[in-house]
Amino acid sequence: MSDRNWDPSQPIISVRDVHKSFGSLEVLRGVSFDVAKGEVICVIGPSGSGKSTLIRCINGLNDINSGSITVEGQEVHDPKLDKLALRRKIGMVFQQYNLFPHKTALENVMMAPILVLKEPKDEVRERARALLAKVRLQDKEDSYPGELSGGQQQRVAIARSLAMRPNVMLFDEVTAALDPETVKEVLVTIKDLAQEGITCILVTHEMGFAREIADHIYFTDLGVIVEHGPPSTFFAEAKDPRTREFLSQIL
């Protein structure tokens, strides 16, 4: 799946001076960062700081006004780019799960590999079962999303993304809509993935979790990256007053 011109020693995702506005509202005001293959990145920051918009730009769900985003060396916002090919490489999990309510958990996981990758059904079913087992939902194969708890739905959504065998996973505040008790089961699932070496970008409010799994933390506010660093230094030695204020409120 990799692009010819890209070798894995280069950043798998490279964001350069990205600007994005919705009408007169400037949401991203020059954001740049790189993600190496296998890295786990957490993006934190106050509401409205553009975190979600940022990761939605990475798989082309939102377009950008200027700047560049490359994934495996391919420019995401090149009008000639095959967006479907890009999205096959990038999995995305949403805050609201967005499972397909008319399909069972297993069917939710199986749909995309069958319809998009045109893989044989039996093979996909086997893989989907394995993925549901991996997110500890093997006994919920035939349940419809409406019959599952929020945490269970979110784990199905993660399995659904993984079924496409993505190189990068984007997590958009995936625990924000969950009950505190179910947050943990989802975080454990994500942690497993991170340890397997899938490149992950998470937008999150779970500071403890970010500290535990992230290789690098970015703090955004008002559409720019204010500060970043590995968790060991980021939490202990935040320099910018905005970061310190945010952390003092959260921690």
Binding site: S47, A85, V116
Partner: protein, 300 residues
Amino acid sequence: MMHAPRRIPGLGARPRTDLPVLLAYRASTPGAPDDLAFSRWLVSRPALVAVAAFAALVSWPWLAWAQGNYGSGDALGALWRWLPFLVSKGFTLNLLISLLTMLIGTVAGVILGLWQISRSRVVRGIAWSITQAFRNSPWLVLLFIVMLSFPFQVVIGGHEYQIPDWTKAVFGLSLPVMANVSEIVRGAVQSVPTGQWEASESLAFTRRQQLWRIILPQCVKRMIPPWMNWYAILTMATPLVSLLGVEELVTLSRQAMEAENNHPELLLPFYGFAMVIFFAYCYPIARLTVRLERRFAVKM
């Protein structure tokens, strides 16, 4: 967190209906109060009230005729004689017209509705114009145009075929049904949360796959109640075609009364019978519509 306003191509624009007076009829969200106003009104009355009202309506003329020369017995006898004919030749044609119209109107309406959410601005604009034009025209005017402007016979391969009036009526009535089904489809598609589009988009579904595999299957349930509501409305509108000479229930009732020497006492039994038979057919549909609507509302 920032909620990124996102436009799914073809779905962002609100429908533009210029006359506020017409807004009440807009089926923008299937199952919305306005959309099912008729069913709701009918069903909100307890069944007994509806039946009692009809009993009163139908029985007072009976009582009145009891005092006349041409008695109620005579009028009812006339109705009784004509009844098999009125049902088998008249009301059956009303049903045939309503079913065929619904079939054609639904197929055309679904296509038009899907054009209304096309990614192409031009297709969308054309579909929107057609939809608005036919939704906001009097049905009778559409019927007149179709009945009078279409040929009454066609020549195919040297053979002359007569086009029966009632098939033209079907076509004429299909136009407003098509336009309203088009709005039901558009409204139902727009009522599916954008998250469904985004999730399927990030799984690399094509637009066609998104629509047919994810969005439309979720719409069908939402479309059934307003669609049935329109069927009931359409069925009750079929007597309009009697103004154009199609020999359906009302036309035949009039002819039967002429054959019975046009006694004024015949009017209420005959037209009363037409009311009762339409009521008997449409009321259960209205009840079912509201029941389905409630059931689906809970599930979705």
